[in-house]
Subunit: 292 residues, 2 copies
């Protein structure tokens, strides 16, 4: 089979054996924003035509490829959802006597009725389910838009998105705070100071201004200010997660996942790291449920 | 005397009679960022030479003109500070046998030892002191960087800055949230919905993402999204202010001050509006204490 993680910025393809072992993999900066005029079939063929010619089926895709801006919109599945519910929401695309499946995203509503969405992360979580040993656990997927998902009995029952990574990026690039930052290696002491600051009263909008005043008074070096801001924002995210108790898993790429693990430990959690390539396993599990 | 409110973006000058009455006023987009090579004396003369020639003294200035990027740095006075302490911190600049005074900014530290600063707002507060009838009151000065100052017995004893306005501006201009916003008149229902959202659990970083999801599901019109975001951010500011009790005054320009008054009332405060031109009175009070 062929598994494809097709996001906003990147295209990642895996050729899998029947037992799910990765035979080959390829990636390209060919996210959906880089595909013009809806030419997704051409884009896919340009990357993995040889695999398709060799009879690699089924083709299973997840991520923003199923969004309104993607190949074909795959309407969101609703929480609670596990493997059967997400598999049931897959939509099929066809071209040149070939076909592929796109996994749906997932949506839920909180107590106030405000909706949240994910697209791609739900398949990563499906791939990680086997590693969860508790009847209830939280999975944190750090990123531009961090996701916190509650998993109970093999189903995602609730999740919340935090714009932590994007707020960091826009404040660094476009606010007065960025003007006092210079490049530097990530300073862990500054990160921890920001994390601690997030625990104070006053709220995030106030804490942010402290990045400026600490710089103004020479109490925060320009090359440490980004790490301080990062710790502050991650600290506010952790302060707001739905539960301060329970088992927490982190599913993410190396560097950011390590930062979150460190922050979670300081905050009193005992987090475990999940396989960052869980999406491949999740796509393989979905593949087993479709018939071409 | 000549009173000058000289900020980052704007220059505002007032010619005052001995009793503080405004005889004339002028303004220009000649903030300190628009003055090149430290030519502040030239900039000042370009705006009010005739007033200076007519013997308008003393000249009293406040705002970012006293910052490190301004004409001459006027070191911050420390809380608690009232008229005598702020007057004592004024610094003098001289050019062509003329001179002017620059008011210092104000600084304080919170319980965690993190500093906060203001520069200009302290003179607005001095000008508003007469209007406060209570032994303790909070003054909210809305803006790019909102200030909340606690005033006790004619002195500013504490204050906190919230980056509410700047976070609004950068998220609207540079984040994924801005991409789903279109221009529109300020929708008060959307503003109030954002304000209410800020009272929920989950934290600001999570609530922000709701601007996107509500738009995605057609529950928030593109032309109302900015008002919703504005209400959410102001709501988070109000949620974090140092005291939920006590008398609150709002000191600011018409439109934003009215928004804050509305939000404060919904949150159960009974706010009063102060004269938005209090800076002129504050500068006049300082003028009475200097000798040229």
């Amino acid at each position: 089979m062929i598994a494809i993680d097709w996001g906003t910025s990147n295209f990642r393809a895996y050729r899998l054996a029947a037992d799910g072992a990765v035979l080959d993999k390829r990636s390209a900066p060919l996210g959906i924003l880089a595909v013009k005029d809806g030419r997704f079939a051409e884009a896919l063929e340009s990357q993995v035509r040889d695999w398709l010619d060799a009879g690699g089926t089924p083709v299973i895709m997840s991520g923003m490829i199923g969004s309104r801006q993607g190949w074909k919109e795959a309407p969101y599945a609703h929480c609670p959802a596990g493997l059967p519910e997400i598999a049931a929401g897959m939509v099929r695309v066809e071209w040149n006597r070939r076909s592929a499946w796109i996994a749906p995203g997932l949506t839920c509503r909180d107590q106030s009725g405000i909706a949240d969405v994910m697209r791609g992360e739900e398949v990563q979580i499906l791939g990680a389910l086997d590693a969860l040993r508790e009847p209830m656990a939280w999975i944190c997927l750090p990123g531009t838009h961090s996701k916190w998902a509650r998993v109970e009995a093999q189903r995602i029952t609730y999740f919340a998105t935090h714009m932590t990574g994007e707020v960091f990026a826009v404040m660094k690039a476009h606010s007065i705070l960025g003007r006092m930052m210079s490049d530097g290696t990530h300073d862990m002491a500054a990160f921890e100071a920001g994390l601690q600051r997030a625990g104070d009263d006053g709220g995030l909008l106030h804490h942010l201004f402290g990045v400026r005043t600490r710089g103004l008074f020479g109490e925060l070096a320009a090359e440490h200010a980004a790490a301080y801001l990062s710790g502050m924002l991650i600290g506010h995210e952790l302060r707001s997660v739905p539960s301060q108790t329970g088992v927490v898993y982190v599913l993410g790429a190396q560097y950011l996942a390590q930062l979150y693990l460190h922050a979670l430990r300081i905050r009193g959690f005992q987090p475990s790291l999940l396989d960052p390539d869980a999406v491949v396993k999740g796509l393989a599990r979905l593949a087993a449920l479709v018939r071409d």
